[in-house]
């Protein structure tokens, strides 16, 4: 009985969201998260990768919200999308796994010791900390552009739908973000004089 009430509530929220109700949409997305995590968690054990898939499902839900028929129960609709996206993610992981080789150490590139000794700055850069810090210094619009276009690999059209920014505004924000990131990260990749670049 509790399940039926919950499904009816979700269905009502989704119908309202289709008409543009922001509050109902936010409530719905927050409410379905445990269900999505459960569906994804059955097949993907890595929590980080699992959360990426959950976010993909949320994007699919958003793009395809017009396909929901409020006369039908909501749960089969969202479960079908979630299962589909999970299978897509698994296929992608298997494909990538088949082309990747794990190595303990990077192979030497030149005989000289300097070329094979990682600098402290390189380690910081490689860990992604520097990039994360640099991203946080960007204005909100530029952060959104980088996150949607580069980190989530969306097309301009998809990113425009999700962010509400125009395609032209996204292009400008992305261009400025890259320029700012280059400036922000430039000192981290400078080498001491006389040190050869080994990568």
């Amino acid at each position: 009985m509790a399940d039926e009430t919950r499904d009816a509530q979700w269905s009502e929220w989704m119908a309202l969201a289709q008409d543009g109700d922001v509050v109902a949409y936010q409530s719905l997305l927050a409410a379905v998260l445990p269900l999505l995590r459960a569906i994804v968690g059955k097949r993907i054990n890595d929590p980080d990768k699992g959360e990426d898939v959950v976010q993909d499902i949320l994007l699919s839900l958003h793009r395809n919200r017009h396909t929901y028929d409020p006369k039908l129960p909501f749960r089969p609709w969202i479960s079908t999308i979630a299962e589909r996206r999970t299978m897509d993610a698994l296929r992608k992981m298997y494909r990538q796994g088949a082309h990747e080789v794990l190595v303990d150490e990077y192979p030497e590139t030149f005989l000289s010791d300097e070329t094979n000794t990682p600098l402290e700055d390189d380690l910081v850069f490689a860990s992604g900390d520097a990039l994360s810090r640099a991203l946080k210094t960007l204005p909100a619009g530029q952060q959104t552009a980088v996150e949607l276009l580069k980190l989530r690999e969306m097309s301009l059209k998809q990113a425009s739908e999700v962010s509400g920014m125009s395609v032209a505004a996204l292009k400008v924000a992305m261009h400025r973000a890259l320029k700012n990131l280059r400036v922000e990260m430039a000192p981290k990749v400078e080498r001491p004089k006389g040190g050869a670049v080994g990568k």
Binding site: A17, Q18, D19, G20, D21, V22, Y25, Q26, L29, A30, L33, E51, V54, Q55, L58, L59, S60, H62, N64, R65, H66, T67, Y68, D69, P70, L72, P73, F74, P76, W77, I78, S79, T80, I81, R84, T144, S155, L156, K157, Q158, V162, S163, G164, V167
Partner: protein, 220 residues
């Protein structure tokens, strides 16, 4: 809640425009039939205008009517199942609907082939391509395939393989109605094979063009 997921929900909820709901598969199927069937029949009649008398004869022949009914039912059931496949949460077993009418259609084609084989003998019975049939196949099959692509793309493919296969069957069957009426030789297995091949080509081309246009508008 994970921070980035929370941000994503906030971003998705920002400035939420109302959306036009996808019509039910039944209504979309009715739209498909209303647009694609007349176009297919008109194109078939134009390409095979010398066979108009033959078409009227076939409409009064019981066996031809039986075959037309099986073809039309195949188109209806496969079309309905394909449109269900393009809408998440719809009945998963809809793909079984065309099994019976398609089976009946194949049985009737098999019987036609057998009769022809008995009449002409093994030396004159051939599966070689009849290039003269191809314009009729293209003329009758284009509209059903193109309209089906538009309808399918408006939904979401959760089982792409099944949905595309059902779309091909539906569009081929609807095109075969015009072919069965206007085309002079009896609809044999060979004609059906050409019809399926032509529909696959239409669907692939339409999808490629549509994907190209989508990419272009996204990067514009």
């Amino acid at each position: 809640m994970n921070n980035s997921t929370e941000n994503l929900i906030a971003a998705l909820s920002q400035d939420l425009p109302p959306v036009k709901r996808l019509a039910s598969p039944g209504r979309r199927l009715a739209g498909w039939m209303a647009v694609a069937l007349p176009m297919s029949l008109v194109m078939g009649a134009l390409v095979e205008r010398q066979n108009m008398v033959l078409a009227f004869e076939r409409l009064t022949n019981a066996r031809s009517l039986l075959e037309l009914a099986a073809i039309l039912l195949t188109a209806l059931t496969a079309g309905y199942a394909a449109l269900c496949g393009a809408q998440p949460g719809r009945a998963k077993h809809a793909w079984m609907l065309p099994v019976l009418p398609f089976g009946a259609w194949l049985a009737l084609i098999g019987e036609s082939c057998f009769r022809l084989f008995e009449q002409v003998g093994p030396e004159h019975f051939s599966f070689a391509p009849h290039w003269t049939c191809y314009p009729s196949v293209v003329a009758t099959g284009a509209a059903p395939a193109l309209v089906m692509v538009i309808l399918i793309r408006r939904g979401m493919l959760t089982s792409p393989t099944e949905t595309v296969a059902l779309s091909v069957l539906a569009a081929s069957a609807l095109g075969a109605v015009g072919l069965r009426l206007f085309h002079a030789p009896d609809a044999t297995a060979l004609v059906l094979m050409w019809q399926l091949l032509a529909t696959v080509t239409f669907l692939a081309l339409s999808s490629l063009i549509s994907a190209y246009l989508n990419n272009r508008s996204a990067s514009a």
